[in-house]
Amino acid sequence: MKTVLVITFALLSVATFAAQENYQFDTVEQQVLFKELTATLRCPMCQNQNIADSDAMIAHDMRRKVFQLISQGQDHEQIVSFMKSRYGDFVYYQPPVTRTTIWLWVLPIFVVLLGFVVVLRRTPHSLPAQDEQAALAKAQALLDEDK
């Protein structure tokens, strides 16, 4: 039974490996750069997948283009700007700081600061002064009543 299960899972796992082209790089650095770029460039066709993961035709084409540009000796910066000039800032997972996107950084800090202000300014809830003796006497009276 166990063997059958193991074989079944082994067979299932074969079907899940992603389609990958075999690109030959001259140096290890180029291969590392390729991995890094395909992981950080976003597929413009698909919902939130990088081009390394996506099987869309555009992702294939972009991977091929990244490979070509790396082979031509272009660096990380140049390839990212090549893609940005065609597909916009959307294509790169690190958004640039602009007037609209600055809120992504400012807002969380603002909320944390606001939290501090709220906590610090909160006046401690003062309990109404109780006449402990009277309360105890009252309790004792109730206990006596129960007897």
Binding site: M45, A56, M57, R86, Y87, G88
Partner: protein, 198 residues
């Protein structure tokens, strides 16, 4: 007063959040500003699909307002828009195809050019042929330079070879009227009066 404000602030915040998220329900996650707008056609040198000995460059668009339609026979939506594009071309709109094929992957090519040509002829015979000619984007490099994410996409190129409209998706009457018609009318009127825009 202080108390009322305490209630109002979360309420206003909540309503604002609702409005923001409500808008999101109707936004198109694929919609993005095209980077190509108001820029010249990228440089290219590509063969004609039917007569590969003819080579086109970006200069082919100079002098005439052109609707460049990115398409392929494998694309179902492209087939939907073919009859409408044919009607447009019959009204005198110059339509040029930028053809790219899915299977003809340059690295793993399995389809012959003759077969691609036959498929194109079959489909244009059946649904109408709006194209003055088809530019064959063999390696899909020009599509990439144009920021094309899929097919169909349509670009309106003015007589100076500048891209004026970039539309993702099919062209139908509504899209043409809303997105293309005004720009097209403006551009073509310039041709008639001979005023060339610099």
């Amino acid at each position: 007063m202080q108390n009322k404000l305490k209630f109002a602030v979360p309420l206003v915040f909540f309503l604002g959040l609702c409005l923001f998220l409500f808008q999101g329900l109707f936004s198109d996650p694929q919609a993005r500003d095209a980077m190509t707008l108001d820029r010249p056609m990228p440089e290219f040198a590509l063969p004609d699909l039917m007569q590969p000995e003819i080579t086109y460059t970006q200069d082919v668009f100079k002098g005439k307002v052109t609707l460049l339609n990115v398409w392929g026979v494998w694309c179902v939506t492209c087939q939907v828009e073919l009859p409408y594009l044919t009607a447009l071309s019959e009204q005198g709109v110059q339509i040029v195809g930028l053809y790219y094929d899915q299977d003809l992957d340059p690295d793993f090519g399995i389809k012959t050019l003759a077969r691609v040509q036959q498929e194109v002829i079959d489909i244009t015979d059946r649904l109408g042929n709006p194209f003055a000619y088809n530019i064959f984007d063999v390696y899909r490099d020009t599509s990439l330079d144009l920021g094309v994410t899929g097919a169909p996409e349509s670009l309106l190129i003015d007589q100076n070879g500048i891209i004026r409209v970039h539309h993702i998706g099919d062209v139908n009457n509504r899209v043409w009227q809303n997105k293309f018609a005004d720009v097209y009318a403006e551009l073509t009127s310039q041709t008639i009066t001979g005023v060339e825009e610099k």
